[in-house]
Symmetry: C2
Subunit: 333 residues, 2 copies
Amino acid sequence: MLDERRAAILRAVVEGYIETAQPVGSSLVARTGGIPVSSATIRNEMVALEQEGYLVQPHTSAGRVPTDKGYRFFVDTMAGHGKLDTARRQQVSSFFATAHGAIEDMLHATSQLLSNLTDYAAVVVAPQSEQATIRSVQLVALGGNTALLVAVLSNGSIEKATVDVPDEIGDERIGAATTHLSRSLVGGTLTDLAACPTSGDQQTDDLCAAAVAALRPNRGTEIDHVYVGGASRMATAFDAVDSVRRVLTTLEQQYVVVGLLRDVIDRGLSVAIGAEHGLEALADCSIVVAPYEVEGELAGTIGVLGPTRMHYPQALAAVAVVSQRLGRRLSEG
Amino acid sequence: MLDERRAAILRAVVEGYIETAQPVGSSLVARTGGIPVSSATIRNEMVALEQEGYLVQPHTSAGRVPTDKGYRFFVDTMAGHGKLDTARRQQVSSFFATAHGAIEDMLHATSQLLSNLTDYAAVVVAPQSEQATIRSVQLVALGGNTALLVAVLSNGSIEKATVDVPDEIGDERIGAATTHLSRSLVGGTLTDLAACPTSGDQQTDDLCAAAVAALRPNRGTEIDHVYVGGASRMATAFDAVDSVRRVLTTLEQQYVVVGLLRDVIDRGLSVAIGAEHGLEALADCSIVVAPYEVEGELAGTIGVLGPTRMHYPQALAAVAVVSQRLGRRLSEG
DNA sequence: GCTGGCACTCGTTACTCTTGAGTGCCAGGA
DNA sequence: TCCTGGCACTCAAGAGTAACGAGTGCCAGC
């Protein structure tokens, strides 16, 4: 473990680098770090910090830059996570006070809010539909030989799937299937889609089986909808165009993003720094995540993606506040 | 109008610049342009082309670069729009052969296809729901004092809206409202949402009125869903980071994108070059657009966004093929 | 009207020199 | 033992200079 003085020096370097994006030298730390020793002493300590892997020197005559390990220490020993300034608190409050409309639109807007708050890219993973119960099931003929199965879930989201039906199927048969499906599925969840009990009518049973089958493959793969806000801000976070390209390409792959957030949450972290999350393309990015709860149940995840030298206290505070407010808002329905 | 030789020189400059992104000199044109005159003569012609506004010179001792007007001439006189190479045709065919699932997912995938084909960003505007008829309407209680109104449209898309309902409303009343709404709305379109005729029951009527009102504001504003694919490719199209940022920020504003495409289509164009579309942030971008038809009706729009020096023949060919195939695919249902 | 020739322009590249921020180390002092 | 001021050293960044060469405009001659 680091003694108090070294920790203070490390913190000063991290803060300086986050602010200026320039390597931080001993004299700057001596002047502004609040540590009552000379720059020579700080230099000696910095050598030690470098040997222990908290700092690196881009080249001999430059200052120090934090490593992932350095950022990790900084985040882990950060006091109280910081608070949002009043302007931002205000912004959050008024957002959730006026938020309305379909849940998808609200989650999308939330990702933009979070991006605005932090000036980084933001990600919102929609509540998992796994625990939501089915409130309504309906089969609607679309013409031709397709029909649409629409399931309304208790969290206000909708799952739908196209079903192939025999040509020239009659309305009354669709209706029969709808009532039969309703009877057996409503009240259950998407995860335990039971096969429909037989109804006595062969054609209706076939239809129901096809419908259930159509609804099933959604589960697991693409059920996690994700909203990415402010991806364009990554363009200013890096000055190398190809870094920007790499990061944006990754952000476009929704399943990667979902997997990334889930992975971080599963490991019990709220921050993943640089290479910690294992995605090479995001090696000089950090993400700050938080789950949100709806009616006491863990429902989804939100996160902020920025460069490793991101402003952690502010990002953590923003993510915490937004996740809490979002959960509360969604619990109200 | 340009005489044939000048036109050939202009075309050679445009093609050269598109390929190399470097100013094109007279000697290159003389060597590779297929024009049997010396570079000196070409220089003389270039002076004229510059005076007429087709070319500019970045600085005295540099080659020429096309202006928007130059690109415009190139595009307008381009022969036959070019064909996709077989590999790309193959890609399109296999995409539409295997495309399946919900319409939203398919449109999203289509935008990625188009982006892959052209190596630029691609945009797909979903079919407008205005002409689609309502196939089914259902009100579902969500608990608390909210209910969800779900309307299934004939094109397979779904419109939904939350409706405030009195506390402790009974299932039978929701059911009554559903049947009443079905009776009056099914078969119509979203644009001519008639007020429900009175049912004789005050509470049911109130509920129906609220439901219709909730569905209405969707129209006009956010009804045009849009899918942007491959936005990250814009990061390699420009080398200035802030150009990238500007373009990406614009692409994130969906209503701007929709308006842009619509505007171009309305003006009867299939290509908008540089400043032609009037969006300052996209001043050095061009877009290539095409409408697509579902069952003979104009339904939506697709487009490709790239730098002004984009590869027009290929982009036009890709957009044409994809719009046609997409329309056909959607017509099949 | 086209062409070869030629002087001229000016961005690009390479090289050198200087500057200055920052370092490591050391000897002296608390 | 630990801290500090001093000092020589390193090296990226910036400025200045020179050579290069791609490309131009212009002109005299065919």
